[in-house]
Symmetry: C2
Subunit: 308 residues, 2 copies
């Protein structure tokens, strides 16, 4: 599909893209760059890249497709670094969880004749690093592309075909709308997960050992998300401030109403909400966006040490 | 271990107890009661009870161990209903997620010579009903007993042995401390999960179909908990009001501080929290309280329709 693909960043998403390209034979050559020499060596050892380079510019030189797989806070500086070596006609894309800020930071550096098409695969796990990736990560998940006004349709279609070949479904929307949608489906959920794990860690009346022992009551679900990459998520919140604060405001308003219902013993308000939310999970399962298994398919009993 | 065990309530916990007792051959006879005739018939058909009765009093008559597996809001009335038929020396326990309120509601009805020992297995899934149970639900999970002052030590030890034989680890604490611990490890997590799912359902700017499609960004994790039994959870919040409001107050304070950090672009505060929370998940996995698999062990790729 592409003669040479360059992965800038070899963490969970970069490595999964490498494996997915291998699975589908989508690239003649996969060249990788990561800031850390240890990461580059690990990527080569695992084998999801054919070659690594010591600089991003060297890795990007001559590539038909360059994918920035780094925290959104460093997309701009990496775009600046690789700009001089980008081949005319190349597609430059990214996988960042925020799109307006990436457009703002990357666009000024994109040379004439290079097609910059921002993207975001809605897929991941709480793991990070080059050993965390796997070919199936994008299967049946959605990838959002936010092409800019005047984008080359052939290039956008080619990038769409690439993501479909990686297993994804593809949808297009504006960067601004993407950032609003992701604020509620991803960013605020992460923020409140980080927050409750922090709150539980700070209590004097309940010990940390009690929190851990009795976490199967619900708390442990939040710790998965709260184990996600700290730098990536710091950058998300710093770069999608307005949409996150807007959605967080709505969340807090609704929470105050629930708090009031509890204080006044208003069981009907609670029961109505709790009944309504049940239907949404059903829709998510029907849409193929979560496993139809109780407890996410967590192993129980003797098997609960899992695959480790 | 017991000649006759009576399960009052045949939902997720009642049915799982039935299966666990079968697995360990813990009961000579298991007799069940549920309000709905359909549930009673289903329980018999599945076979985790030997016999069902049309009234709770008939089911409890002559039992050595009676377990209330019903929402905490109806424990009191069921205790009143079965009190006349409880056998002297019998152990009466429950599985409610709140303990002080159950103690308050049940104790007045307990006849002289019957050992009432409140309990709470910290285990469950988002499923409900008699078909949801399985024998392994309690394996490696904690069961908290909150014996009252002056409780008969032999009876408490016997109930502890029962839970261990069902696969649990057992800890004792006061009802008040239990309610505080569970407020942060279970009740507030459920409340904020219900809340964010409700918030996402109510937005005008982001459609419900977008929320569902892009839920793999984090949101879907919350929908599992928010699909839990509505009546059970209504009763939890109505009956553990003070501890829930206390913990919710702390959660909201912490969230305001995070909101402020985002508004002012304070990346260090965010990074510090996000790094700290990562360690807590590791402790939970090390303590055997969650699967050591990425993404809870959710199936990916072609297998992601799971066991269905």
């Amino acid at each position: 599909m592409f003669d040479k693909v360059c992965l800038i960043g070899l963490g969970l998403i970069g490595s999964s893209l490498g494996h997915a390209m291998r699975r589908g034979s989508l690239a003649g050559e996969i060249v990788g760059y990561a800031r850390s020499a240890a990461t580059r060596a690990k990527a080569l050892e695992i084998g999801f890249v054919d070659r690594v380079c010591d600089t991003a510019a060297d890795a990007a030189a001559g590539a038909d497709l360059v994918i920035l797989c780094v925290p959104v806070g460093v997309c701009g500086e990496l775009a600046a670094a690789i700009a001089p070596s980008l081949k005319p006609g190349a597609i430059l894309t990214d996988v960042g969880s925020v799109k307006s800020a990436v457009v703002r930071d990357v666009t000024p550096h994109v040379p004439e004749g290079v097609h910059f098409i921002p993207g975001h695969p809605i897929a991941g796990t709480e793991e990070s690093g080059p050993a965390a990736g796997f070919a199936e990560l994008f299967d049946r998940r959605w990838c959002v592309l936010t092409p800019l006004p005047g984008a080359d349709e052939a290039a956008v279609a080619r990038l769409e075909a690439f993501w479909r070949a990686c297993g994804s479904e593809v949808e297009r929307m504006s960067p601004e709308h993407h950032d609003l949608v992701l604020a509620i489906t991803s960013h605020v959920p992460h923020l409140i997960a980080y927050n409750i794990v922090g709150t539980a860690d700070d209590l004097g009346t309940v010990t940390q050992s009690e929190v851990i022992k009795f976490s199967a009551g619900g708390f442990r679900d939040f710790t998965r998300i709260a184990a996600s990459d700290p730098v990536m998520w710091r950058d998300v919140f710093l770069n999608n401030k307005d949409a996150v604060l807007e959605m967080l405001g709505r969340f807090s308003e609704d929470l105050s109403a629930l708090q009031r219902a509890i204080r006044w013993g208003d069981g009907d308000t609670l029961l109505n909400l709790f009944t309504r939310t049940r239907a949404i999970r059903r829709s998510i399962i029907d849409a193929g966006q979560d496993a139809p298994l109780p407890d996410f398919g967590r192993p129980h009993g003797k098997g609960d040490k899992g695959r480790e």
